[in-house]
């Protein structure tokens, strides 16, 4: 039995690539449009989504929004522009500093952890709000850029960066995103820099989470894909404390991966016993 997170390599890449491109193409066309809009951060996840969408729909049908805040690193902007220029897609740069700062003026200057998180969430939701506005403006679907690792760990903002109409990379772990990026020929700098949400200067995913994606992904592969109980993962040699920490994070963030709860009153309730595909339309 295979117990290691499978690698995206030269053998399976062509099919994975075709599969993800088909997903974008078919699901977008079914919605009655032929284009997508996505937020491009300069990070690897949105770069991968962007490459996949361009392959699926053609460069004229992908629009990238680059939405920096005053603390966003200049390198992020450069990396995002490198993607846009390499692919030849259209883009807009929309600075969100003004509206974010305006909203938080009453909060004063006292920086604290809670405020930092609130600001981060607010920025993520502001970007979502702009993406959905452009979705209407450009008659395009919003393409998601959250990977499986962050979706499982709940390392994202509900109705912020987690919001999209369709997400080609939501079943691909961060470790595999790097492998995919190598095969997609994404600019090297985007692949080699440490992962960061870039919500404040010097932010680092792995520092914040307290573990590396590589370790977390191997554990999550056992817990989720293989459906092994945490004690089984531990018996296979993983650190018990870390396994339990990751399992707890997955459970605690389940609400972020579900639609809002609806109180059942009638005999047929949306998403409980009123059951159709989204493709039903």
């Amino acid at each position: 039995m295979k117990k290691e997170l499978p690698k995206i390599d030269g053998y399976n890449f062509p099919l994975v690539y075709k599969h993800l491109s088909n997903f974008i193409k078919y699901e977008v066309l079914k919605a009655g449009v032929n284009s997508v809009v996505l937020g491009l951060s300069g990070g690897i996840d949105s770069a991968v989504s962007c490459y996949l969408a361009t392959n699926a729909l053609g460069k004229d049908n992908v629009t990238a929004l680059i939405m920096p805040y005053e603390s966003s690193s200049a390198a992020s902007m450069d990396d995002a522009l490198a993607v846009v220029n390499t692919l030849g897609i259209s883009h807009y740069i929309i600075d969100i500093t003004k509206q974010i700062n305006e909203y938080f003026t009453k909060e004063g200057n006292a920086e604290n952890e809670a405020l930092r998180i609130r600001k981060g969430n607010k920025m993520a939701r502001e970007r979502m709000s702009i993406l959905y506005d452009y979705s209407y403006k450009l008659n395009s679907l919003v393409l998601g850029t959250s990977n499986k690792s962050e979706l499982l760990l709940g390392y994202g903002t509900l109705y912020g960066d987690m919001a999209s109409a369709l997400n080609p990379i939501g079943d691909i772990y961060k470790t595999q995103i790097y492998q995919l990026a190598e095969h997609l020929d994404i600019p090297k700098n985007i692949i080699t820099k440490p992962p960061s949400a870039d919500l404040w200067a010097g932010q680092s995913d792995e520092k914040e989470l307290g573990f590396s994606y590589e370790t977390a992904d191997s554990i999550m592969y056992l817990l989720i894909d293989k459906m092994y109980k945490p004690e089984v993962a531990v018996s296979l040699g993983y650190d018990g404390e870390l396994v339990n920490k990751i399992y707890a994070k997955i459970k605690k963030s389940q609400y972020k991966r579900r639609m809002p709860l609806i109180a059942k009153v009638s005999e047929r309730t949306i998403n409980i016993d009123f059951r159709y595909l989204r493709d039903w339309a």
């Binding site: 499978p6 053998y11 399976n12 099919l15 595909l277 039903w280």
Partner: protein, 297 residues
């Protein structure tokens, strides 16, 4: 037995539009017509090819009782089958007189209903929920098509080796497996999804050990993020793949089955002849009667 001991078959790897019977019928008619032009005597479509797969509550809207006037909706398929003197196997949601629904495959030959297979093994685990909507069929039939004995298994049916065992011992020369199999699982060093790999190994085993032609027709396309893998193919009684369609892409391919080759293989390796049905029956009775399955006392 057929005059030339062979049959030309078209494998139609389609991307059905979920819930849109009319559009899917149009697509079938077009493909059948194209297949005939290339000399096909039988065109095979995937599981639920006329309806789409993850139907959920729309099973209720799309079911057809083929023994009533509801059958009229399938008229274009009957008509082209009659006009072009061709046989067709297609998947649809069947409704019976008691309002049960089945995941069924219909075989229409030269304008007449030849056979219906109601899927027996309805996967209801993981991403699948067929038993929530469908009633299981109650057997595996073998029918004669121009002298060739045919059995139809639908997707999960084939994962139970007892199904092909029954079919072949009932006299099937060719086992047709129509499916809607989602692409899933990757492995380093493997140039296909794990699910495709499992299928190809299974098909080869059935073909070789049951000395039969095995024809696998799978669909492509996406339904709510789940993509079907395609890779429809045909295995000869030596367990060798003779033709295969691309993974993940719509398409058709024609292939000949040759009963002389089947004859040759069954003579050289007479596994079916030597099968001890009485022994199997006795053992099965023992298993069933001894309560070898867990019981609560």
């Amino acid at each position: 037995m057929k005059k030339n001991n062979s049959m030309k078959i078209c494998l139609a790897q389609t991307n059905p539009k979920v819930g849109d019977l009319k559009k899917n019928i149009e697509n079938h008619v077009e493909i059948i017509s194209g297949a005939k032009t290339q000399g096909a005597e039988l065109a095979i479509f995937p599981e639920l090819s006329l309806t789409g797969y993850f139907l959920k509550d729309s099973v209720y809207d799309i079911g057809i009782n083929i023994r009533t006037e509801e059958n009229a909706v399938l008229k274009p398929i009957y008509k082209i089958s009659e006009d072009l003197n061709i046989s067709v196997i297609a998947g649809f949601v069947e409704k019976d007189a008691d309002f049960n629904f089945y995941n069924s495959s219909i075989c229409i030959s030269k304008g007449s209903l030849l056979s219906v297979h109601r899927k027996v093994y309805l996967p209801t685990y993981g991403m699948f929920e067929e038993l929530r909507y469908f009633k299981p069929g109650n057997g595996f039939g073998v029918f004669d098509m121009d002298g060739v004995k045919v059995s139809v298994l639908t997707c999960e049916d084939a994962w139970h080796l007892s199904s092909s065992y029954i079919a072949v011992n009932k006299g099937a020369h060719i086992i047709i497996i129509n499916s809607a199999s989602p692409a899933r699982g990757i492995t380093a060093g493997l140039n296909k999804f794990n699910s495709m790999n499992m299928w190809e190994e299974l098909l080869s085993v059935i073909a070789f050990y049951y000395k039969s032609y095995v024809i696998y027709v799978n669909r492509v396309g996406f339904e709510d993020g789940i993509g079907f893998s395609g890779g429809s193919c045909i295995f000869n009684p030596l367990g060798e793949m003779e033709k295969k369609l691309e993974y993940l892409e719509e398409g058709t391919v024609l292939s000949d089955i040759n009963l002389d080759l089947l004859n040759n293989e069954r003579f050289k390796t007479p596994l079916i002849r030597d099968e001890n049905l009485n022994l199997t029956l006795k053992e099965l009775e023992n298993i069933v009667n001894s309560g070898n399955s867990e019981t609560i006392k």
